[in-house]
């Protein structure tokens, strides 16, 4: 009986995946599948939360009341995405606060795009348009991910991300078609965000060690390079349409393949930022750690009060 052995369980597990049957929290799953998901979903959750900072940065300086409200709502959505994703992590038996502590000690990663500074209002446009745009490319396939809770969280998240993408594009196009100062602001921002945005899809397939296994498990449905290409093909014509210049002198359209081809991506920069040597890595993690430390007395008070209430109600 005991010999419904691991190999048999694994075979049945893979069979479900091959038949597109979702894996649910109570189902048996290989430990490595569980760990991969915990790592990936918590990284995704951290990205949503750390991603609040570069945009939160501009709320008090938003140029008018409508933009201020839209930006507040957007950053609030990102916090909500973080919440659903942390809940999805918890279905795998991981503890939300423990994964957050891993972020604070530098053990857990998050999307390295958020280690770049937001130095102008136009960056609110670039982030919505490019960063949320790239996130959508990454996340739409995850709506079909083999793990049920993650797939369902993504369906909800993707709806909101496409709204973010549209409002970001609206900001940047208004600037790109505005006064000379506004055009310059838009172009300068685009110059800074273009390359980091296309690096958001991660290293080239040849250098991506987890891809093959993740594809087999249907945690990942497309390779990094496929997703990156889709993003470039969609984004280049948008930039051209609003009159922005792609900061890549080697960019060309290949008529035979129907795809744009970019110049070489600076992977050294990518790995440096991943390692922690980006312009704002320390500021971002410090800000999150400080929020948690400064909030300790508040969480303790809430727990102590709840405890007192319980005692009172029991007596």
């Amino acid at each position: 009986m005991k010999e419904v052995n691991i190999t048999e369980l694994e075979r049945r597990f893979q069979e479900k995946i091959d038949n597109d049957i979702k894996i649910e929290p109570r189902d048996w799953m290989p430990e490595e599948y569980r760990q991969t998901l915990i790592r990936q979903i918590s990284q995704h959750a951290h990205s949503e939360i750390v991603g609040m900072l570069p945009e939160g940065n501009w709320i008090t300086r938003a140029p008018n009341l409508r933009r201020k409200a839209v930006l507040l709502a957007k950053v609030q959505d990102e916090a909500g995405h973080g919440l659903y994703l942390y809940s999805a992590v918890e279905t795998l038996g991981a503890d939300r606060e423990a994964t957050i502590d891993d972020l604070h000690t530098g053990k857990a990663k998050y999307s390295s795009i958020f280690n770049y500074p937001t130095t102008s209002w136009a960056d609110m446009g670039s982030i919505g348009w490019l960063v949320d745009g790239a996130a959508i490319m990454n996340q739409v396939p995850i709506c079909r991910c083999s793990y049920g809770p993650y797939a369902r969280a993504m369906v909800r998240v993707c709806k909101e991300e496409s709204f973010h993408q549209r409002q970001g594009f609206e900001i940047i196009s208004l600037l790109a078609q505005g006064t000379p100062e506004q055009k310059a602001m838009a172009q300068e921002s685009f110059n800074r965000f273009w390359w980091p945005a296309i690096m958001m899809f991660g290293p080239n397939d040849a250098d991506s060690k987890h891809t093959a296994q993740s594809m087999k498990w249907k945690i990942k449905r497309n390779t990094n390079d496929e997703l990156r290409q889709m993003f470039i093909d969609v984004t280049v014509p948008q930039a051209e349409m609003i009159g922005l210049t792609i900061p890549d002198k080697d960019l060309k359209f290949n008529k035979e393949t129907g795809h744009y081809e970019t110049g070489p991506i600076d992977w050294d920069e990518f790995w440096e930022v991943v390692k922690g040597n980006g312009p704002c890595n320390k500021e971002r993690v410090d800000a999150r750690r400080k929020a948690k430390e400064d909030g300790l007395w508040v969480r303790e008070a809430a727990m102590a009060y709840a405890e007192k209430r319980k005692v009172k109600n029991a007596s």
Binding site: I49, M52, L53, G56, I59, T60, R61, A62, P63, N64, L65, R66, R67, K68, A69, L72, A73, V75, Q76, A79, G80, G82, L83, Y86, W121, I171, L174, L175, G178, T179, E181, Q182, A287, K290, A291, K292, D294, G295, L296, W297, V298, R299, E300, A301, A302, A304, Y305, K308
Partner: protein
């Protein structure tokens, strides 16, 4: 004409309260003590900015000089802002932010309830929309008063400090001058007298449950309603107005 000038001033004062407090609360975004509170604070800020938009747009209409809500929100000098001193005070720790919010929410709820019956239809409509939000904000800030006051020794002493430092700004909530007197006479706004009493009853009951004590010292600070502010407002305006001042006359 006289009525319009007074109504403009009154709506501006309310709009500025929402705008400046919304600005302050938005400074928390991304830095809250727990993710759920980060979301709640951002939501409160969003509501306040929405109220500010409705009120300042309306102020612009009453004024009739072609200024819209943005022109009023972003392009005045400091003495022309008429918000309460309370709302421009710094966030401090989470407890201080909640104490400031609690005083304000308790006041705003009573005010909006009465403004529902305003003879000015637009003001009554804004009150109707804002009252729902304000009730939620008040529930939230009241619950935090009790949790922090009756939580740990540390939280009790921190929140008591916030109460001590902010109490002196609460009298201004009930400020009245000729602007108010004439609008009260016309049935556009309620008298503050009943509001002040009810406010004190509510606030006292929550603070008692929170095991906190109201300062006996009666030192009061006011001036915001006539444009005399604390040092903090200038810094708020420096951020709030930055884009409009640095890049004038552009669409965003």
């Amino acid at each position: 004409m006289e009525k319009n000038t007074n109504l403009f001033e009154y709506v501006l004062r309310m709009g500025d309260d929402s705008l400046i407090l919304g600005h302050r609360v938005s400074e928390w975004c991304g830095h809250g003590p727990i993710l759920e509170e980060d979301i709640a604070l951002t939501n409160i800020s969003l509501d306040l900015i929405g109220q500010a938009t409705n009120l300042l747009e309306y102020a612009g209409e009453i004024e009739g000089k072609g200024r819209d809500g943005d022109a009023i929100a972003f392009l005045r000098c400091d003495r022309e802002y008429k918000n309460l001193l309370l709302v421009e005070q710094t966030n401090g720790d989470f407890g201080k932010t909640m104490m400031r919010q609690f005083f304000f929410d308790a006041f705003r709820r009573l005010l909006f309830e009465r403004l529902l019956k305003s003879s000015d239809i637009q003001l009554a409509a804004i009150a109707d929309k804002s009252l729902k939000e304000t009730k939620y904000h008040l529930k939230h800030s009241s619950e935090w008063m009790i949790r922090l006051g009756d939580g740990t020794d540390e939280s009790h002493s921190r929140i008591q400090d916030s109460l001590d430092s902010l109490w002196k700004y609460t009298n201004e909530l009930f400020f009245m001058d000729e602007v108010d007197f004439s609008l009260i006479k016309e049935g556009i706004i309620p008298s503050m007298d009943g509001i002040q009493e009810e406010w004190l009853v509510y606030v006292t009951s929550i603070l008692e449950e929170a095991t906190l004590s109201i300062p006996t010292n009666n030192w009061k600070q006011e001036g915001g309603r006539i444009g005399k502010h604390t040092e903090h407002l200038g810094f708020i305006l420096a951020e709030l107005q930055y884009m409009q001042r640095a890049y004038p006359n552009m669409k965003w």
